[in-house]
C-alpha cells in the first residue's frame, strides 16, 4: 500500500514538474519572441522544415481522407436519398475537424519527433551547454524559432489539407459516384461558412503551439545518451498527440 502511494506521489510530482517546466519554457519563449534581436533566418529555416517539408505527407493524408469520407458519407446518405449532401459533409468534416487534427497528428509524427531528436542530441552532446557558455540563450536560439514556425505553419498546412481533402471528395463524389458537379459544389458553398474554416484554423494554431512546445521541451530536457534521445522523440509524439486530441475536444465543446 505504501509503495503504491509512493509511486502515485512520484508520478504526480513528475506531472507537476513537467507542466511547470513547460509553462516556464512557454513564458520564456513568448518573452524572447518579442525581444530584439529577432533571428528571422532561424525562423524561416524552421518554417521551411515544419511547413514545406511536411507538404507531401499532408497532401497524401488530406486527399485520401477526403476521398474515403466521400465514399462513406455517400453510402450513409444514399439511404436517406441525400447524396447531394456528400460535398458539404466532406468539406465541413475537413474544415472543422479532420483537417486540423490529421495535420496536427501527422506533423507531430514527422516534424515533432525530428525536433525532439535534434534538441535531445544537442543536449546530450553538450551543444546546448555550449550555447549557454557562449552567452547565447538556447530558448531564444532554439525554442523560439521552432514554436513560431509551428504556430505559423500549422494553419497553412491545414488549409492545404482541407483543400486537397475537398478536391479528393469531389473526385470520388463526382467522377466515381456520379453526383452532379453543380449540385456538389453548390451545396458545399451553401453549407460551409467562413466560421467553420476559422474554427479549424484556430485549432490548428493551437496544435502548432502544442506540437512545437512539447517537442522542444522533451528534446531540451533529454537525459541519458542515445536512449534518452529516443525516449524524447517517442514522448514528444505520444504526449503531443494526446494533447492534440484532448485540446481538440475541449475547443470543439467551446465552439459548439
Amino acid at each position: 500500500m505504501r509503495r503504491q502511494l509512493e509511486s502515485i506521489g512520484r508520478y504526480s510530482e513528475d506531472v507537476v514538474t513537467t507542466a511547470g517546466q513547460m509553462a516556464i519554457m512557454l513564458a520564456s519563449a513568448f518573452l524572447y519572441a518579442f525581444t530584439p534581436p529577432i533571428k528571422f533566418r532561424n525562423i524561416f529555416k524552421q518554417m521551411e522544415f515544419v511547413g514545406v517539408q511536411s507538404l507531401f505527407v499532408v497532401i497524401l493524408t488530406g486527399s485520401f481522407t477526403g476521398m474515403v469520407l466521400a465514399l462513406q458519407s455517400y453510402n450513409a446518405l444514399k439511404r436517406f436519398g441525400a447524396e447531394s449532401l456528400v460535398g458539404p459533409t466532406v468539406a465541413l468534416s475537413m474544415a472543422r475537424e479532420l483537417g486540423p487534427v490529421l495535420t496536427g497528428l501527422m506533423v507531430t509524427g514527422r516534424a515533432g519527433s525530428a525536433m525532439a531528436t535534434e534538441l535531445g542530441t544537442m543536449r546530450v552532446t553538450e551543444q546546448i551547454d555550449a550555447l549557454f557558455a557562449m552567452a547565447v540563450n538556447p530558448i531564444r536560439y532554439l525554442v523560439v524559432p521552432r514554436v513560431i514556425a509551428g504556430i505559423l505553419m500549422f494553419p497553412v498546412l491545414t488549409i492545404v489539407t482541407d483543400f486537397v481533402g475537398v478536391i479528393g471528395g469531389y473526385a470520388v463524389g463526382v467522377k466515381l459516384l456520379g453526383i452532379n458537379p453543380g449540385i456538389y459544389i453548390g451545396r458545399t458553398v451553401d453549407f460551409v461558412q467562413m466560421d467553420d474554416i476559422v474554427t479549424g484554423l484556430t485549432k490548428s494554431l493551437v496544435f502548432g503551439l502544442i506540437t512545437s512546445l512539447v517537442a522542444c521541451y522533451n528534446g531540451f530536457y533529454a537525459t541519458g545518451g542515445a536512449e534518452g534521445v529516443g525516449r524524447a522523440a517517442t514522448s514528444s509524439v505520444v504526449m503531443g498527440s494526446i494533447m492534440i486530441l484532448i485540446s481538440d475536444y475541449l475547443m470543439s465543446s467551446f465552439a459548439v
Binding site: 542530441t121 544537442m122 552532446t125 553538450e126 555550449a130 557558455a133 557562449m134 552567452a135 547565447v136 540563450n137
Partner: protein, 248 residues
C-alpha cells in the same frame, strides 16, 4: 582572479562538491585533477554558471557570480571561452560556422571580417583549409582544435577546458598540450583545465589542484605536487590501483 569559496552541490542524495575552496590566478594555467566522477566537470560548470550551487560562492574579481541573474550572467560569460569534453561543435554548421558563431551572435562584424578572424584562429590551432568541412568529417583531435578555436575566437580573459585530451592518443594529447601552452602564451589568458591526464598536466600546469571526495585536498606548483607526500595524491599521480583511494 577567480575565488571559489566553500562550494557545495548535491544531486539527490549524492554529495558531489562538499566545500570546495580554490583560488585561480590571472594569466596562469590552473589544472584541476581528480578521478572520473569526482565532480571536476560540475566544478567548472559552476564557474561559468551552467549549474547553481547549493551553498558557497564563486567570485570573479569582486563579483559574486552565483548571485547573478541569468541575463547579467550572460554579460559575464562573454569574458569566458569553454572547450567541452566532446568539443560540442554544432552538427548543423560547418567548421567556419562553428568558430564564427560567437562573433556572429555578439558583434556587428560583417561576414568577410568574421571569415578572416575564423581563418586566423584556425591557423593558431594548426588547422588549414578546414573552414567548409562539417564536424562529422573531423577526427577527434581536429574537433578539439576547432573547439579551442571557437573558445578563443572572442579573445576571452578566461578559458575553461573540460578534459581536453580524453579520447586522444598520447601524441595527439601532447600536441594539444603544446597548443594550450602556445595559445596561452600568445593571448596571456587565464586557463582552467580539468583532466586526469598526468603527463599532460605536468607539461602545462602553473598550478595543480586535486579534487577528491568533493574537496580540494592539495594544491601547488608541479614541483610542489611532485614532492607532496599525501598518499592519496601520490596514488593518483603515480596511477596505482593500490592505496588509500579504493577502486571499487
Amino acid at each position: 582572479m577567480i575565488k571559489i569559496i566553500n562550494l557545495r552541490k548535491s544531486f539527490g542524495d549524492k554529495k558531489v562538491l562538499d566545500g570546495v575552496n580554490l583560488e585561480i590566478e590571472r594569466g596562469k594555467i590552473t589544472v584541476i585533477i581528480g578521478r572520473s566522477g569526482e565532480g571536476k566537470s560540475v566544478l567548472i560548470k559552476h564557474i561559468i554558471g551552467l549549474l547553481k550551487p547549493d551553498e558557497g560562492a564563486v567570485f570573479l574579481e569582486d563579483q559574486d557570480l552565483t548571485s547573478l541573474r541569468d541575463r547579467d550572467f550572460n554579460e559575464v560569460r562573454k569574458r569566458f571561452g569553454m572547450l567541452f569534453q566532446g568539443a560540442a561543435l554544432f552538427d548543423s554548421m560547418t567548421v567556419a560556422g562553428n568558430v564564427g558563431f560567437p562573433l556572429k551572435e555578439h558583434t556587428d562584424l560583417n561576414d568577410e571580417d568574421i571569415g578572416k578572424i575564423v581563418t586566423d584562429k584556425l591557423h593558431r590551432v594548426g588547422l588549414v583549409d578546414v573552414e567548409e568541412m562539417m564536424p562529422s568529417d573531423l577526427s577527434g583531435g581536429m574537433k578539439k582544435r576547432v573547439g579551442l578555436a571557437r573558445a578563443i575566437v572572442m579573445d576571452p580573459e578566461i578559458v575553461l577546458f573540460d578534459e581536453p585530451t580524453t579520447g586522444l592518443d598520447p601524441i595527439m594529447s601532447d600536441s594539444i598540450a603544446d597548443l594550450v601552452l602556445d595559445t596561452q602564451k600568445a593571448l596571456k589568458t587565464t586557463y582552467i583545465l580539468i583532466t586526469h591526464d598526468i603527463p599532460f598536466t605536468y607539461k602545462i600546469a602553473d598550478k595543480i589542484a586535486m579534487l577528491h571526495e568533493g574537496r580540494i585536498i592539495e594544491e601547488g606548483s608541479v614541483e610542489e605536487m611532485k614532492a607532496n607526500p599525501n598518499p592519496i595524491l601520490r596514488q593518483f599521480l603515480e596511477g596505482r590501483a593500490e592505496g588509500p583511494i579504493k577502486v571499487f
